[in-house]
Structures are given as C-alpha cells and as structure tokens.
C-alpha cells in the first residue's frame, strides 16, 4: 500500500463503531451505466448495486440512524431483532432494512406510522424481561436499549408478569476479562456471530430455545479468543461487561479522544476514554484500512502501563549515590557535561518512537553532543527489523510489539548491531514498548522517554547518568507508520500531568545550554 497519510478522527455516529461508508457518486465516465436510485423518506439517492437499505441510509446519514440490535457493520447479517424494519411500498410486510437489498425505483419510508408502531412493539417486548438496573449497569449512558427506548419505546408497559431471571445471572464470568449478566441480554447474538465468523474460535453459543435461550461458553474454560474486549464494545446492553472497566466510571463522565494503540505494529485506531486525564479504557474506532472495527485485548489493556504509578514521570539524576528527582535543566546540564567528557557516544532510538522524534534525535542531537555519534535503532520485542514482522493470527495481532518500526527505519537508520551497546555512553530513547539492549557491566547510560521504575532498578544504578522523562503516545502528537505502510497522525488524547516533556521541548532546552 502506498504512503497514505490520514488523520485519526472520531466518527460521527456516537457509538463505539460506525459505518465507514461514503456516498457514492456517479461515475464521471458518461458511457457508464447510471447508478440505480432508491427513494428514502421522500428523497432520492444513488446506491451501489448490492447495497442494503440500511447501507444506503448509512452512506447518506438519513436521520440519525436506523435503529438496530443484531446488525453490526462488521459482521454477517442475522435479521432477527426486527428493530430496523422499514416500510417498502408494494411490499406486503415491513422489511428489515439490514437484510433487504435496495432496488432501483424502490420507495422506502423509515419513519412511517406503521414502522414506528412496530419499533415501539419491539422495544416493549425487549423491555418486558429487561431488569432495568441502569443505575448499577456499566453500559448506562452508552446503551442502545436506553437510546432506542428514549426514541421509540412505549411510555409505560403493561407487562404484569414476573420477569425472567437466569441462574447466577449477575456473577457469571465468561473469562477473567469478561462478565456476563444474562438477565440484561436482548438476544441479538452479535457476540455469537463474532466468535463464529470474525475470530473463528466458536467460543460462545446460545443454549436452550425461545424465551429460555441463554448465552454460554462452549468450553468450561470460557472465552479463549484475544478479542474479548470487542464483545463488550458491541454488546448493545450491559450483558457483557469488561471486568477492567466494571464499576470504575459512569460513561458520561468520560472524555473521548481519538489516538492510536502503540502495543504492536498494526496501529489500531482507538478512542481514549479518560476523566481528569486519567485513562479508564481504550475502545477501537472504525478504520477499514487498519483495524476494521476491532482491537485486541493486549492493546486494550496497554493503557495500564502508561497509567502505572511506577512509570517515571520526573527527570532524575544521580546525587550522593542515589537517584533524585531534579529539574530538567539540572539533568541536561549534568548529562551534557558528562557526554562531552567521553570518547564515544551512541544514540539508540526505540522503534516505538514517532517518526518526528526519530528524525529529531537523528538530525539534531548528535550536533548538540558535538562528537562523532553513532545513531541506530533497536526493537527488542522479538523482531530486529520490520522485515521480521509477521501476523500472529488471522485478524490484527502482529509479532512486532512496537508501533513504528517502519517509520524509524525509513529515517535511514540501521538496527543496533547484535542488539548490543558498544560505546562508552549510550543514550536510550524509547516510548515504553521496546526492550532494553544488551550491555557490558560498566555501560554508562542516559535514559530518555517512557521508563518504569522497575526497568530502571534492573540496571546498575551507578552507571545511569540521568533519566529524562518523556511523553507516551496518548499524551503527545506525531505519526506512526504501521506494518502495512500506512502513516497515521495523532494528537494528544490526554494532557500529561507529571513532569515529562516532549522530545522537542527537551532538545530545545538542551540547545539553549550549549
């Protein structure tokens, strides 16, 4: 794929997924056949042959959206929830817009009286057995049952019977990561189709029939795919919840900003959900060219490393045999002096750095040190160069656990020979994802970027000349080039509240010292 630059944007529809579909326009070639046209709610739209009514409506953003439970743009069509029915003129019954292909000359009404009555009926049926425990439900605020009930639901229900209660409904763990509350389920079976058709692991199955239908894992071990978080994203109600987020935050308090997952070379587009600049979760956002609608669990939980209390967020240097937090100016002055006094210096750029940081470190920093400085890159997550990278499964996961191997290599850098430091002093720049190179016992080090205290403690502390705290992916701006060669720009999703500084800021200060 060519170098296509594009910026990550949050899609318009405020759900965790949305359609990527863009309006089709007539082929400029005048001899081409005219596109078929369909009339929806009084307006005529062109469509690609084969589009369903739902897809045409999504392309043109007709109204907000056609309500749906079982339909998901990334999955096969089931047509069972009957929420998306529309009235098609000349058709005897209401048609499900998710499964009915648009036809040339078809006249569709998406909000006629008959349609609204049907949707109210479906909502009433779904709510008969729903526990309505929204005050303690984690999905509240982003729940499709709430949203659609607000729009279509009946004002009151005449259901006077007892509600359905499943055994152990609220405490069922499908895996260490996901909890199932079967009482809340509306039986859309998105989750079953996801494990059948997307991950192809067949983890979930509906047992029993009709009103007693119950979701169960196919094996006693529970879910075994690596995309379990997606189940909790697209579950329209709070039946499947992500244990890590369970009872942590009400969803309406969350600020939602787009960013990129840097846990592997795929570069999945994500939305960072935070409150007061504390991240609570990542959720994927749709990008057909990169990750589709999904992201893996490893990436989803990778925010924890940046939010970890052990992450070093202040600049440190050695004073009286101990590491002390000091100002950036003090660290830079000390480091600068010691670098000038040594014969050989090497800069090692982690492949998790952004393209801009790699260029900055290669072009500007050697001049600041003022010596013949060797610059190389290092990965340390099982791959040496981007050529070693490979897919780990049929969906997204990559072997390379850093985000920008291609982008760093593109700067004309070479990998660190044998993965071993050779110079007297090594400046290690990383974003918290690469490994640590091999080194001799008395190797002098300058650590720069995202480091954790445990990593620093594993190094001989008397050799550490200084630690410069840097920003993590979600806190800075830049761009990554992913395994498929797609360059993706991103902006800060949260504001860093510690002492860490961007690489450009540090280089600017360094320059003013010399």
């Amino acid at each position: 794929m060519s170098n296509t630059d594009f910026e990550i944007k949050k899609p318009k529809v405020d759900l965790n997924y949305s359609s990527h579909l863009k309006p089709v326009h007539s082929d400029p070639n005048p001899e081409a056949k005219p596109l078929p046209k369909v009339t929806i709610d009084g307006k005529t739209y062109e469509f690609k042959p084969g589009d369903t009514i739902m897809q045409v409506a999504e392309r043109y953003k007709i109204h907000e959206e056609i309500p749906r439970y079982c339909y998901h743009p990334g999955m096969p069509i089931a047509g069972t929830c009957r929420m998306c029915t529309v009235e098609v003129e000349k058709a005897p019954k209401l048609m499900t817009s998710c499964s009915t292909p648009a036809g040339d000359g078809m006249v569709v009404h998406t909000r006629s009286e008959k349609v609204m009555k049907s949707r109210t009926g479906v909502m009433e049926f779904l709510l008969t057995n729903h526990p309505l425990d929204c005050p303690v439900c984690d999905k509240a605020g982003e729940c499709e049952l709430q949203d659609y009930n607000f729009e279509y639901g009946p004002a009151k229900s005449n259901f006077k019977e007892e509600k359905r209660v499943y055994d152990n409904a609220t405490t069922k763990k499908l895996s260490p990561l996901v909890t199932l509350n079967m009482n809340r389920c509306v039986h859309c079976e998105r989750c079953v189709r996801f494990t059948d058709d997307i991950t192809k692991t067949n983890d979930l199955v509906m047992v029993n029939r009709g009103w007693h239908k119950e979701l169960e894992a196919t094996t006693p071990e529970g879910l075994k795919n690596d995309y379990q978080g997606c189940l909790t994203d697209f579950c329209p109600v709070g039946a499947l919840t992500w244990n890590d987020f369970r009872f942590q935050k009400r969803s309406w308090f969350l600020a939602k900003k787009p960013s990129i997952c840097d846990k592997c070379s795929k570069g999945c587009n994500i939305e960072v959900h935070s409150d007061a600049d504390v991240v609570y979760r990542y959720v994927p956002i749709h990008n057909e060219m990169v990750n589709g609608h999904w992201m893996c669990d490893t990436g989803r939980n990778s925010y924890q490393e940046y939010m970890n209390p052990l992450r070093v967020i202040s600049h440190m240097m050695r004073q009286e045999d101990k590491m002390h937090s000091v100002s950036i100016e003090a660290v830079l002055a000390s480091v600068n002096a010691q670098l000038k006094g040594t014969s050989s210096v090497q800069i090692v750029i982690g492949t998790d750095s952004t393209r801009e940081e790699a260029a900055l470190l290669k072009d500007k920093v050697p001049a600041l040190i003022g010596k013949n400085v060797s610059v190389s890159y290092f990965n340390g997550t099982g791959v040496n160069t981007p050529a070693d990278d490979k897919k780990l499964d049929n969906l997204l996961k990559m072997k390379d656990q850093t985000a920008n191997s291609r982008g760093v290599e593109e700067q004309g850098l070479t990998p660190l020979t044998n993965g071993e430091l050779t110079a007297d002093v090594a400046v290690l720049f990383r974003n918290g994802r690469t490994g640590i190179p091999k080194m001799k016992a008395d190797q002098k080090l300058v650590l720069w970027g995202v480091w954790s205290q445990s990593e620093i403690q594993s190094l001989p502390s008397k050799n550490i000349l200084g630690v410069i705290a840097g920003l993590a992916t979600i806190e800075k701006e830049g761009s990554y080039k992913n395994a498929d060669g797609i360059v993706q720009k991103f902006h800060p999703a949260i504001i860093h509240r510690g002492g860490a500084l961007s690489a450009h800021h540090v280089v600017g200060l360094w320059k003013s010292l010399t």
Partner: protein
C-alpha cells in the same frame, strides 16, 4: 353412516386396513407399485413437472403452494462461482409437529413406498440425484419403517444406481430431527439438516437458490410426495377432477378431539367442516360443538355456527382461518376455551426458536397472561392488551411462527370473549381453590 370411501376414491388410504400394506411386496402386487416410476423414467423431467402442474396438486404441509410451480422454480443448471455444476437436492419434510396433525405419520407407517416412489419421481423431475427425508425425532417407529422401505426399494432396483435400467441415479437419506416444532419450517429444517441450530433462515435467498448445504433444494411434504404416483398412473386430469378448481386431489384430514371416531380420513376438498366432523362420527354423543380448529393448532378457531365452511384453501381463508395441515380439532361444550388456548400457548412458548424479539418475548408474555387470567388475576384491560400484543407479533418476524401463536390467541379473544370475562369476574377457573386451575402445575421449563 357414510364412510370416507362414499365421498371420494381413496387414492392414498385404500389399503389402510390390510396388515402388510407397508411392504414392497404388497405395494407392487396390489397398488400399482412403482409403475408410475417406470412411466416417469420414460418421460422428460419437464413433462413430469407439467403433469404435476396440470394436476393442481398443492402443497399439503400447510401453506398450500402449487407443487408443480415449486418444482419449476428449481434452477435448470446451477453453477458455483467457479463454473462447476452444483448438485440439487429434494428434501422431504416429515417433521410433522403441528398439534392435532397426524396424517404424515399414517402415510409413513402404512404407505412408505408411495412416498418413496413419489420422491424418486420428484427427484427425476428436478434432475436431482439425492433426497433427504427429515423425520421428526419422536417418530422412532416411522423412521424404522421408512428405512426398511428404502432398503427394500434399493434391493429391488427402484433406488440407487441406474434405476430400472435407465441412467438415472437416485439416493434417499433419512435424517432424524431432535423433535423441535420449528424444524417443520422449511429453512429451519434445512439448518437442522446441516447440523446447525434449528432456526429459520432469512429469505431471500429461497431454498430453490440456496437450500440444503448451500445447494438449490426443494422441500415438500410427505402427503404431497405420496400423491405423485397416482397423478402419473391415472393422469393429471383425473387427479384434478377429484378436487376443486384450484386444488386437485383428495386431502387427508386428521380429526381429533371430542368426536366419536377420531382418526385420519381421506376426503375431497368440496366438503364442509361439518361434514368432515360427521364422517368422523360426529361430536361425542350427548354433547355439542363449542369450537373447531380446522387445520392444526396454529389456525384461528371457528365457532360452532361457523363450521358450514368449505374445507378448501380459499374458502377457509375467506372465513378468517386456514386450511393448514389438515388437523381438525373439535372441542365440545365441556372445554374452557381459555384453558385450551393456554395449553397451546404453553406449547408455543416452549417451541419458539427465540431468534426474533417479538416471537421470543411475545409468546411467553401471552402464555403468562392467559395463565394469570385462569388463576383469577386478570382484568378487562388484559383482553385489549392480548389483541395489541398479537398485532405487534403477527407478520413481523422471519418465519410464520409468530402468526401461528397469534392464531388461537387472537381468535379465542374475539370469538369467546365472554369466557374470558367470566373468568375475570369469577376470579379464575377454580375460585374456590384460590384461583389455581387444573394446569397450574408448572412444567420444569416454565
């Protein structure tokens, strides 16, 4: 009293009382066995389809779709995406699960060869070399008899390779279901046949394009196949003349309930429902009819004053009900309609596959509501709400199951409203027992 034979030629059930009528030997010697197949193999497939079209044979499963037309919908020369020819399959729906219907069971126990012969002819007519017989799980005996009939036919050269010396091959395979009512719906049957959950598929694509194992398939009822040999032996005109204008032949009516002689009767479609009940010995002595379900449990019921309706597809449709699968259930005045319908609704609640929201939740809601009324907890608003639930269910789902649920529920409220009101006013069926009624015992699944 007149018997069924006095009304029409017994083309299916003539030999029903002979002990060995299910054997190949008897069928070949006494019932023109496999002569129709011999004749069919000399005919072009298209001519057989034309003959069946001319006979006005309509599907006996319940919907009454013209059989010849269904066969002609099968693609002539299906190809897969690589251009390789695809096989076509003939599927026999022997999942007779409709409450009150037991006519296919009679054919399978007494005349298995008639059905096998009809199915081989049908395979020839649509150029298919393989047929699946999907038999309901509870039919152990019938499955054994059918398997024996297929083995006999194979040994005699009516099935297998080069049938009767021609180059036509045909194989029939029996598949036992697990006893789910919904698997009588043709696409749920196909799913079940493939080993998937028995849930109806979205249509389109119809089975004629994508059916069993993704191949073009044609699904017909047992009785439909059993009628085919007669059509070829005696001619389409003869068969058509036995019936009425738009529907040829005779029908099997499974009459049950409060009649003197319940059973399966082969009768012409020109008769009225009252006459059919008369043939079955009339309502049990000393009692009078209260309600009749004319075509299996899912049809709306008729009051005693409405049973002078003709038993053909269109007259019954005009009367607001269906001809369905031919299961006539007669209820006399000792029956409480609410209780009777509750029993049906409990069945439907248990058998809904649970795909579509309306059917899954609605069938349960209706059953609970009927039970509450029986237990004395009802009020007059409930009756209007039953109608509202039914209108939200009917015609809104993938298959016709939701319509089947609303058939008895809605018709009972419309036609026997006073019985509901009595229960509401009196505090249930057995107010002296605190409202508990005879069916109050909960099943394990409810």
């Amino acid at each position: 009293m007149k018997t069924a034979a006095d009304y029409v030629e017994q083309i299916l059930t003539k030999h029903v009382n002979v002990p060995n009528c299910h054997t190949l030997d008897y069928y070949v010697k006494n019932d023109k066995g496999y002569e129709a197949l011999r004749k069919a193999l000399t005919m072009k497939p298209a001519d057989i389809v034309d003959e069946v079209k001319k006979s006005n044979l309509r599907g006996r499963g319940g919907a009454g779709f013209p059989t010849g037309m269904k066969w002609s919908f099968m693609p002539a020369d299906p190809k897969d995406s690589n251009g390789n020819p695809k096989p076509k399959y003939m599927v026999c729906n022997a999942d007779e699960g409709e409450p009150g219907t037991f006519k296919d069971r009679l054919i399978m126990t007494k005349f298995p060869h008639k059905m096998v012969e009809g199915m081989i002819i049908a395979c020839h007519a649509i150029n298919s070399n393989k047929g699946f017989i999907y038999i309901r799980g509870e039919f152990y005996k019938e499955t054994r008899i059918m398997q024996k009939a297929i083995d006999e036919a194979k040994a005699a050269g009516f099935l297998g390779k080069n049938i009767m010396g021609t180059d036509f091959d045909c194989d029939l395979i029996i598949y036992k279901g697990a006893g789910a009512y919904i698997c009588g719906e043709e696409t749920a049957l196909l799913n079940s046949l493939e080993g998937k959950r028995g849930e109806p598929r979205l249509k389109p694509p119809f089975p004629a394009q994508v059916g069993a194992y993704g191949m073009p398939s044609c699904v017909n009822n047992v009785e439909t196949f059993a009628a085919v040999p007669y059509i070829l032996n005696e001619g389409a005109e003869k068969y058509a003349s036995l019936g009425i204008e738009k529907a040829g032949g005779t029908r099997l009516y499974a009459v049950s309930g409060h009649v003197n002689k319940p059973g399966v009767y082969e009768l012409p479609m020109t008769m009225t429902l009252r006459e059919v009940i008369e043939v079955a010995g009339g309502v049990r002595t000393g009692h009078s009819i209260k309600a009749v379900i004319p075509g299996g449990a899912s049809c709306p019921m008729l009051r005693a004053d409405e049973i002078d309706v003709k038993m053909d597809y269109d007259s019954l449709a005009k009367a607001g009900t269906m001809s369905g699968s031919g299961g006539v259930i007669v209820l006399d005045e000792t029956v409480n309609i609410v209780e009777a319908v509750y029993v049906l609704l409990k069945f439907y609640e248990h058998e809904s596959c649970g795909q579509c929201s309306q059917c899954r939740e609605g069938s349960h809601w209706l059953a609970r509501m009927f039970k509450r009324i029986l237990d004395g907890g009802g009020n007059n608003d409930d009756l209007d709400y039953i109608a509202k639930i039914c209108s939200n269910m009917a015609g809104q789902t993938i298959c016709a199951f939701a319509d089947a649920v609303t058939g008895p529920a809605l018709s009972s409220v419309r036609k026997f409203r006073s019985e509901f009101e009595d229960l509401i006013r009196n505090g249930g069926l057995h107010p002296e027992k605190g409202g508990a009624h005879s069916h109050a015992k909960e099943g394990a699944h409810v």
